[in-house]
Structures are given as structure tokens and as C-alpha cells.
């Protein structure tokens, strides 16, 4: 299978950083997922071969890390934190608002494939709670109105 030149450059740069090939696995999986959208059977087979692992070994690692997924997701992954600092400042209201607005539940994807919604654990935005990440972008000090604007903005790009 074919990855982008950027992926290949990163992969080639990373490998010599470690005494074992396997060590590059976790960051490589995330970079591959960013490109393909999810860790497909094809991606798993390719990376297993490159890092001299069995596909089972790769799957075993994937299932441990909460950011890694073997199922397709929407173009924008809306990750709302409801952990303690966000909880006491209304993080659940933000999550419920997203559920209503997008018409999907936790880990659901909208029919147009635009959004996936996920309740996530602490994303390190505690002092700027409540917070959410859309893909890798942080959105902080949220209110229901602000969250709605954010979703609209992503819809239009």
C-alpha cells in the first residue's frame, strides 16, 4: 500500500532512533491513522511487515491505545472531555449539546460522514475547562453556544 511522501519521510527518519524496529510502532500507527482515517487491515498488514511483527502483535498494541481505531470515523472527530475539571464546569452539558446537535451518541458518526463524537478522558486542558478537541485542535473555555459555532465552522470547511 502507498502512504504519502511525508509519512515515508517521517518513518524513515524515526526508525534509526531506536535499537529495535518495533519501538517505532506507536507513533507510526498514529501517523498512518491520520492519513488513512483508521487502521485498516491493509495498514496493519503493511506496518507489521515493515516492523517485522505479526499482524496479531500490531492489533494487540492498537487495542491498548484509546486514540487508535480500526473502524472508520467521521472527517472531524469531536472529542469532548468530561473528566473531573471539565465535569465541574459543565463538560457534560457540552457533550449532551453535541449529541443533540449532531444527532449521534458516544462514538457515533453522522450519516454524512462529517462528524464522530467521542466522550474522552482528560486532554490536559483542566485550567481552561470545559474543553474539547476536534481532531488535534483544542477548543477551550467552552459554552454550548461556542461549541455550536465551532461545529458550524468545521461543517463549512
Amino acid at each position: 500500500m502507498k502512504f504519502s511522501d511525508q509519512f515515508e519521510a517521517r518513518f524513515a527518519e524515526m526508525l534509526p532512533h531506536y535499537p529495535t524496529k518495533r519501538s517505532a510502532l506507536v507513533p507510526t500507527l498514529l501517523y498512518a491513522q491520520d492519513e488513512v482515517g483508521f487502521l485498516s487491515d491493509e495498514v496493519i498488514a503493511e506496518l507489521a511487515q515493515r516492523l517485522e511483527l505479526t499482524e496479531l502483535e500490531v492489533r494487540n498494541v492498537i487495542s491498548y491505545y484509546s486514540m487508535l481505531t480500526t473502524r472508520p470515523r467521521g472527517k472531524y472527530n469531536v472529542q469532548v472531555c468530561t473528566n473531573i475539571s471539565c465535569l465541574v464546569r459543565g463538560g457534560e452539558d457540552i457533550l449532551h449539546h453535541c449529541q443533540k446537535k449532531l444527532g449521534i451518541g458516544n462514538k457515533g458518526t453522522t450519516a454524512d460522514g462529517m462528524f464522530t463524537l467521542e466522550e474522552v478522558e482528560c486532554i490536559g486542558a483542566c485550567s481552561w475547562a470545559p474543553a474539547a478537541q476536534v481532531n488535534y485542535d483544542y477548543h477551550e473555555n467552552l459554552t454550548a453556544e461556542k461549541m455550536e459555532e465551532i461545529l458550524e465552522k468545521y461543517k463549512s470547511i
Binding site: 524515526m14 532512533h17 531506536y18 535499537p19 529495535t20 518495533r22 519501538s23 517505532a24 510502532l25 506507536v26 507513533p27 500507527l29 498514529l30 516492523l51 494487540n60 498494541v61 491498548y64 491505545y65 484509546s66 486514540m67 487508535l68 468530561t82 473528566n83 473531573i84 475539571s85 465535569l87 465541574v88 464546569r89 457534560e92 457533550l95 449532551h96 451518541g105 458516544n106 462514538k107 466522550e119 478522558e121 482528560c122 486532554i123 490536559g124 486542558a125 483542566c126 485550567s127 481552561w128 475547562a129 478537541q133 488535534y136 483544542y138 477551550e140
Partner: protein, 440 residues
């Protein structure tokens, strides 16, 4: 991007370059950058270790172990390569300080890693950053590249004849990987399952080589100690608690933010003066003083010095510096449930007391919060939690049990108020909406 705040009581050391574009190497050099490494290059390794030991610098990740002591455990001679590993997996709920360091002062972490390497005789360091912090990984990768381009990393650093390499490494979402042995597993490309100790990482760590593992804030403090001296740093805080700390004030306070305060700063002052007190005319109910794993303190228990030893004496832990403030509108049962939902989700399942205990406790808390709890559930939670303590490879089991014991002990009445089908007194319109259960 994270936001910066300021308060007159702050003593800015680790945060002194925040907001000054110090991620730019030229700017960093104008602000005392890389002077500490050059000073350390002229020092004997043991002198560096002694300086850090005498400074009273203790692990900022949460355990509070003496950084210099940790370095001294690394054997002088080793057949296998030695490594320095910077822990930037920051995932303890309530903690958002390393994020600011990586964003505003990435070179200070690089300097800290090099100095640790010089102290223990290593020539390779890794900076592990959690997967969610992608923008920070980009900043750190650039900082590393820039340092190489000037000869601060690589062969013959600063013309000293010594070599030192630093590599970035990224995670992909796992709280437990912040634990040192699980962190090494993750870096080796595996599930983040903890290793049994002994042997400790200082003797057998990454790929079997001796490894020093320090939190990002700990390492970012090191260059300041080398430049300012151990005595100066030690005197900033109470005995055995040198320096300052990035306290992440969050929850129900007027001015949440990350404030750098001297070790031993009074918690009450932190909440009311620095944080501006409790908003909306509410009053204080409880404080989680050092991240979600630390036992809560009640409103009567907050007149304490925020250093490792004083907070331990008060029955809690200074932990990772995440101070989460709860006002009297917060339901402790709900808060305990959300805390346990987190630990149940993050438990790797390797040790049975943690895997089963967190799941059982979460189910009990869901039942209690929705009004279906039995009186014996409350005692059971206490019993279960106590039996998890100290019975797991890594501290995740303790991290789940300790706060639960405190919630039940200090707020028992609130748990009892949820019994016998009573609606949660804190839920809006008396309707209890069950928390969505996360798929594992």
C-alpha cells in the same frame, strides 16, 4: 493554545520564558538559553548529581522522589547503553502544566535531558509526548532539529568532544503510560503494561539498559538549578521541598490557570487569593489537591502548606500539581463516579485487584448515584478500595482506591442521601441522567 495568567505571588522560574517566544532558538539564547548545559559540561558527573540532590528537587510527576537521588542509582559502568527518558505523557486529570512547558519553553526540556545525560553518563535521550498533544510534538520536533543544526545536539556538542542525541517519541492515548515502567513498554512499541520492580529502571530500563525517567517539569527545572545553584533553589521552598511548582488551578474558582508558586504555598491562599475564590456566591466544598488520584480535602482542611511532606501529613498527596476545586453545588457521588469511570477505563487489566476493583467500584457508584444503592454498598466500597491498595504492579490501583476511600470517609452522608431510591439532590430537575458508559 493554552492561556497564560499571572499573579504577584508567583515566583517565575520554570515559567520565566512563558509568553516570550522562547520556542524560537535565537530568542531562547537571548534568555540565558543553553548556558546551563555549557556549565554542566565543565562539571564532574557527581558534582551535577550532588547539585540536583542538594537543591531538594523532587519528582514533579507526582511521586515526589528526589531527582538527584534517582540519578545516583544509575550504575557508573554499564555494558548496555544508558538512557534518559523525559515523561511528557501528562494525563493525570487536573494536570495541564507540561503542556505549557512544551509550548512556551521546549528548549528548557532539551537542556534538562542533556544535563541528566551528562550526570549519569548517557548519550541518548527520548522525549515522550502524549498523542493528544500533537501541536506540542510539532513544536518539540522543531526545537530538537534546531538544536542539532547549531551543534547543541549530535556529535561533539558545544565542541566538548561529547556526543548526545535526543529523539522525540509520541504516545497514542493511555493514562497508564505515564507510569515509568509502562512508559518504557510503550516506547518499546508494546502495550503499556507495567513491569515488576525490582529491578528498577535505573538499573534495567529501556531495552535492558539503565534508564533515568523524569517528568518534563522536573527536567525543565534542572537548568535553572545548575545556573542558580542548589542553595538558592532549595531555599525557595520549605526543607526537603526545593523550588517552585506549576500548580494547575482548575474547577470552581474565579481565575483558573497554571501558576508557578513556591513550594509550600498555602492552599487556602492559592484558592482565595491567587484563584480569586469561589464564583457565583458559592462556598467551597472540597479540593482535590494533586490530580485525580489524590484524596480530597474538605473546606476545613485547606489551611496547609503545599509541599510534599505537609500534604502527606494532611492525609493526601501533592501529586502532579493539579488542584481541582469543587463548590457546594457539586455532587461528591457523581464526582467519585466520574473519577472511577476514568480509572476503570484506563486500567490495563494486568493486575486483577485493579482490573476487577475499578470495574466493581464503578458499577457500585453508578448504582448509588442513580438511587439504586444499598446501605452495604457504602461499606463495601471502603472495603474493596482498601484491598486494592499496594496489591498491583503499578500505582494505578492505588490511584483509584485512595480518592474513593477519602470521598466515602469524608462525605459519607452524601452517599447515604442517595440511598433508597432518592434522586440525586444535586441533579437539575431531580432527574438523574446516567453517564454514558465508554466502550473499552
Amino acid at each position: 493554545m493554552a492561556y497564560l495568567v499571572s499573579h504577584p505571588d508567583e515566583v517565575k522560574i520554570v515559567s520565566k520564558r512563558f509568553g516570550q517566544s522562547a520556542a524560537n532558538l535565537d530568542r531562547y539564547l537571548e534568555l540565558d538559553g543553553y548556558n546551563a548545559v555549557q556549565k554542566a559540561l565543565a562539571m564532574e558527573p557527581d558534582a551535577i548529581i550532588d547539585e540536583v540532590k542538594n537543591s531538594g528537587l523532587r519528582g514533579r510527576g507526582g511521586a515526589g522522589f528526589s531527582a538527584g537521588m534517582k540519578w545516583s542509582f544509575v550504575p557508573k559502568q554499564s555494558a548496555k547503553p544508558k538512557y534518559v527518558l523525559c515523561n511528557g505523557d501528562e494525563s493525570e486529570p487536573g494536570t495541564c502544566k507540561d503542556r505549557l512547558i512544551f509550548e512556551h519553553d521546549p528548549h528548557s526540556v532539551i537542556e534538562g535531558v542533556i544535563i541528566a545525560g551528562l550526570a549519569v553518563g548517557s548519550r541518548t535521550g527520548y522525549i515522550y509526548i502524549r498523542g493528544e498533544y500533537r501541536y506540542l510534538s510539532v513544536i518539540m520536533q522543531k526545537a530538537i532539529r534546531d538544536a542539532y543544526s547549531r551543534g547543541f545536539l549530535g556529535k561533539n556538542i558545544f565542541g566538548s568532544g561529547r556526543d548526545f542525541d535526543i529523539y522525540w517519541h509520541g504516545g497514542a492515548g493511555a493514562y497508564e503510560v505515564g507510569e515509568e515502567s509502562a512508559l518504557m513498554e510503550s516506547l518499546e512499541g508494546k502495550r503499556g503494561i507495567p513491569r515488576i520492580r525490582p529491578p528498577f529502571p535505573a538499573v534495567v530500563g529501556l531495552w535492558g539498559g539503565p534508564t533515568v525517567i523524569n517528568n518534563a517539569e522536573t527536567l525543565a527545572s534542572v537548568p535553572h538549578i545548575i545556573l542558580g545553584g542548589a542553595d538558592w533553589y532549595a531555599k525557595l521552598g520549605p526543607p526537603k521541598n526545593g523550588g517552585t511548582r506549576l500548580f494547575c488551578l482548575s474547577g470552581n474558582v474565579e481565575k483558573p490557570g497554571v501558576y508557578e508558586l513556591p513550594m509550600g504555598y498555602n492552599l487556602k491562599k492559592m484558592i482565595y487569593d491567587v484563584g480569586g475564590g469561589i464564583p457565583n456566591g458559592r462556598s467551597l466544598k472540597a479540593v482535590v489537591p494533586g490530580g485525580s488520584s489524590t484524596p480530597c480535602l474538605t473546606a476545613d482542611e485547606i489551611d496547609i502548606s503545599m509541599d510534599f511532606d505537609s500534604v502527606a501529613k494532611a492525609g493526601s498527596m501533592l501529586g502532579s500539581g493539579g488542584v481541582v476545586v469543587l463548590d457546594d453545588a457539586q455532587c461528591i457521588v457523581k464526582f467519585a463516579l466520574r473519577t472511577m469511570q476514568f480509572y476503570q477505563h484506563e486500567s490495563c487489566g494486568w493486575c486483577i485487584p485493579c482490573r476487577e476493583g475499578t470495574d466493581w467500584l464503578k458499577k457500585t457508584l453508578v448504582r448509588l448515584h442513580s438511587g439504586g444503592g444499598l446501605k452495604k454498598d457504602i461499606d463495601n466500597m471502603q472495603y474493596l478500595s482498601e484491598n486494592m491498595l499496594g496489591r498491583t504492579f503499578c500505582p494505578l490501583g492505588d490511584a483509584a482506591a485512595m480518592p474513593t476511600i477519602a470521598f466515602v470517609k469524608k462525605f459519607r452522608k452524601e452517599f447515604e442521601d442517595h440511598l433508597e431510591g432518592r434522586p440525586c439532590p444535586y441533579e437539575k430537575q431531580g432527574v438523574v441522567e446516567q453517564l454514558p458508559v465508554l466502550a473499552h
